[in-house]
Amino acid sequence: MTVLGIPILTLIVFFPLAGVLALLLVPGQRARDLKLIANLVTGLEFLATLLILRGFNPASGDIQLIERVEWIKAFHVQYLMGIDGISLLLVLLTSLLTFIATLSSWEAVRDRLKEYYTFLLFLEVGMIGVFVSLDFILFYVFWEVMLVPMYFLIGIWGGERRLYAAIKFFLYTLFGSVMMLVAILVLYYHYHTFDTLAMLASGSTLPLALQSWVFLAFFLGFAIKVPIFPFHTWLPDAHVEAPTAASVLLAGVLLKMGAYGFVRFSLPLFPEASRKFVPLLIVLALVSIVYGALVSLMQKDMKKLIAYSSVSHMGFVMLGLFTFSPLAIKGAVLQMVNHGISTGALFLIVGIVYERRHTRLIADFGGLSERLPLYAAVFLIMAMSSIGLPGLNGFIGEFMILMGTWAVNWVWAAVAATGIILGAGYMLWLYQRVMFGRLDNPANQSLKDLTVREFATFLPLLVLAFWIGIFPKPFLNIIDKPVEKIVRIVNPGYFEKVP
């Protein structure tokens, strides 16, 4: 499938670079033009990603729209891209959230706009590239390319401790990725290709000992990104210091990459090792769920609270993936999208009061619902979505994960369920302290409600939250077959028991 003569996946990956070019041509003082270009490009990019749906067959579990070109012949590296239901959902999520993040920066960012939007667009290239690459070296290139703009977004436009948070984020994630690179090379000398499709098709499995090492190296790369306890310590720092748009993308997209890596590469390529490490992964996932939730309860800073809640929510995703049941894995994939929607929105919500009051401390607020009714409504819906209230998106994902897990091991499900209860606790308590009570802080008296532009940034997220909550079928349909395919590899016993 081509658009304007360019293969669609190449187009959607590199289209933001056209925006970068345009930005470079506009003088730095013309702030309005810079903003317009960035918003236009990310908006068009979202529309372009929607075009994929035209050429995509949702009934197939196979990789589609494959683009394959020889890249580095001497090392058998290919420029290989393709997409299936799982990556499609994440690509759409990425382009939507990037557009929203760009729009939300309109007023919030005033300094060094040209560089800001350039980094944002580069970030988008890296993020979308990760989700469509199927050659390990190409994948790795995008995986790393993405770190650089994020480092600068945090480091230049971040909060007080931005320098520390930025380098910590960079060091942690780079450490994980280079170990993955070594594992990729080990794989290469086993399969003599970097083509993951060929690796899957060849069927020649690695010896278990080697597979375990490779699995662990990939685990390091992905687990830091997710992040799973105990690799999460970069996350609160990065989230708290990052500017709002970067927080949204960090939570909404970057955290998904770790989980995506597990589901796309670790499970199908190292099935035996995946099975072997189930106890480790499940324990870490459960600890993440409970620990993340407990720590969230104690936070005084709204952004930090939401950051730790991400650790808990991503624990659910990991739990779902490593039960190897189709229901739970589908729930996990859907939950990745849900988390992107609800946590992305929550960071925007915090960003809006921060922009007005320059504080994020819960104690500085109270009774805001009086002055900001629209804001209060949006906040409430998104808080409920994050808790998992039936009728909203979070419920579907968590419910599927718990159902699937219960069938495998009810103890895991029981522990995970406490995470949901704690989640309701910290989220409602946060809402109560910020929104209800008396508006006694004089600084909050003159706060303004959402503007039209601000409400517009939330609108798509609100629609999606209800859509997935009420009628998730279209979303589940496109991931149905790809997930089944993965389960057949990693847990072949499942389909024998349940015909």
Partner: protein
């Protein structure tokens, strides 16, 4: 035995002859013009190097032997000759800026450089112990002079002396090794030695090899023979550091490649082990020592040591993949190092240049273009795609994994992470911190052009590495 080289041999020797003419011309110009003679000499030398590079690119890369088998005119030596010319050219361009500011421009450097390069060219083509040693000294001695040429600055004089004494000492070790090799085999030509060593006394031969290596390790500043490097690189005039930290190292790696299998093929297990240890030590030492440096030149001195360590991985894992990897990385390394030391020349502080990391603060606002180039450079130095530095490291690690040295590759990868920390202290100063006022940032054309060319090359070979691979693979095939 032919008494005289035949005319067809001399065709392959054109670059060396050309450089000799360039050196003579440049010297003549230097003395002929009283006013600004040194700068004219520099321009002549730069033009000469470009012409020689052109001749080199156009002349056939045969596989013939010259001068009764003393020298080889193969694509391998061709490749390295090009690397030396590039390194020399970048050095001259940066010298223009450096001496514009510092004054008292020594015109001698402009003809010492071509002479040094001749020595290196012969060294990388040499297939005979005697010509290897002679050419080794032929480039070593002028490089001592280059390090100490800036008489105004006591640091430069100290650098020259230090480099000279330790350099001669290591040459002596190397010579001793060579003598033992000759004593064991009675031959000076590489093929003859290879044959002779096959049934020589193993222990003595091994000792000879180690002594030989010591001299080479010293010149390439590999741990534990690196102590001179930070002092010399910090003290010598910045543009000359660009040359001294790249060209001699490239020459040494070329000699290594010639002798590893060509002379000491019998000891492959031993030298691989030695080189693994050296690679590990050098990477960790260079990177860890760089962490605490505040002076950019000294920081880059340690960083360039670390990069030699990465290259040593390739030697330790010598094979099909390593050939490519080492040549690729050396080519990229020359540009990276030139830009890394060159960026200091953007910052004016007092009468000279600001060399502290903190002097770079606010560069992104003052000179956004230069800052962009430096960002690409830093990414490449760290080994982050889409830059040539990433591709180079990836090839080197691949070579190590191919030979089963997975832990060595992992150690190399870990070192990239360590290096991120100090490279991005520079990035932080440039992009995230505010100007400190005590320095002036000047966008000088020579420096900008070096940074710009480097950034372009790093991106080009980072995205389309096969362009350079083709060049490197034809060159790599005929060595060792």
């Amino acid at each position: 035995m032919e008494p005289l080289p035949s005319a067809s041999d001399l065709i392959y020797f054109l670059p060396e002859i050309g450089l000799l003419i360039v050196a003579a011309l440049s010297m003549f110009i230097h003395f002929a013009y009283r006013k600004r003679g040194h700068r004219r000499a520099g321009v002549v030398s730069l033009a000469g190097l470009s012409v020689v590079a052109l001749i080199l690119l156009l002349s056939p890369a045969g596989s013939g032997l010259l001068f009764s088998g003393h020298l080889a005119a193969d694509p391998f030596s061709h490749f390295f000759k090009l690397v030396f010319l590039i390194s020399g050219g970048l050095t001259i361009v940066l010298s223009f800026r450096f001496f514009d500011v510092e004054g008292s421009e020594p015109g001698e450097i402009y003809y010492l450089l071509p002479l040094t390069i001749i020595g290196m060219m012969v060294a990388v083509s040499s297939l005979d112990l005697v010509s290897t040693y002679v050419s080794f000294e032929l480039f070593a001695i002028p490089s001592y002079v280059l390090a100490g040429i800036f008489k105004k600055d006591p640091r430069s004089a100290e650098a020259g002396i230090k480099y000279f004494f330790l350099g001669t000492l290591s040459s002596a070790f190397m010579l001793l090794g060579m003598t033992m090799v000759f004593g064991l085999t009675g031959a000076t030509s590489y093929p003859g030695i290879l044959q002779g060593l096959g049934h020589a006394n193993g222990r003595v031969a091994l000792a000879a090899m180690i002594l030989f290596f010591v001299g080479l390790f010293f010149k390439a500043a590999l741990v534990p023979f690196h102590m001179w490097a930070p002092d010399v690189y910090e003290g010598a005039p910045t543009p000359l550091v660009v040359f001294l930290s790249t060209a001699p190292k490239a020459a040494v790696f070329a000699i290594f490649i010639r002798i590893l299998l060509g002379l000491f093929g019998r000891f492959e297990a031993q030298w691989s082990l030695i080189l693994q240890a050296v690679a590990l030590l050098t990477m960790f030492w260079g990177n860890i020592a760089a962490l605490s440096q505040q002076n950019v030149k000294r920081l880059m001195a340690y960083s360039s040591m670390a990069h030699a360590g990465y290259l040593a991985i390739g030697l330790a894992a010598w094979g099909e993949t390593a050939r490519l990897a080492v040549l690729f990385y050396i080519f990229v390394y020359v540009f990276m190092n030139a830009a890394a030391f060159g960026l200091v020349l953007l910052i004016r502080k007092g009468a000279g240049f600001g060399e502290e990391v903190s002097d770079l603060r606010g560069l992104a606002r003052r000179a956004p273009l230069a800052a962009g180039c430096i960002l690409i450079l830093l990414l490449s130095l760290t080994g982050i795609p889409p830059t040539a530095g990433f591709m180079g490291k990836y090839f080197l690690f691949a070579a190590a994994v191919e030979k089963g040295m997975i832990l060595l590759a992992a150690a190399g990868a870990l070192n990239s992470v360590i290096s991120l920390f100090y490279y991005f202290r520079i990035g932080r100063a440039i992009f995230m911190e505010e100007e400190s006022g005590s320095v002036r940032i000047e966008t000088s054309t020579p420096v900008l052009s070096v940074l710009g060319v480097t950034a372009l090359i790093l991106l080009l070979f980072g995205i389309l590495p096969f362009l350079l691979i083709n060049l490197a693979s034809t060159a790599g095939l005929t060595a060792g």
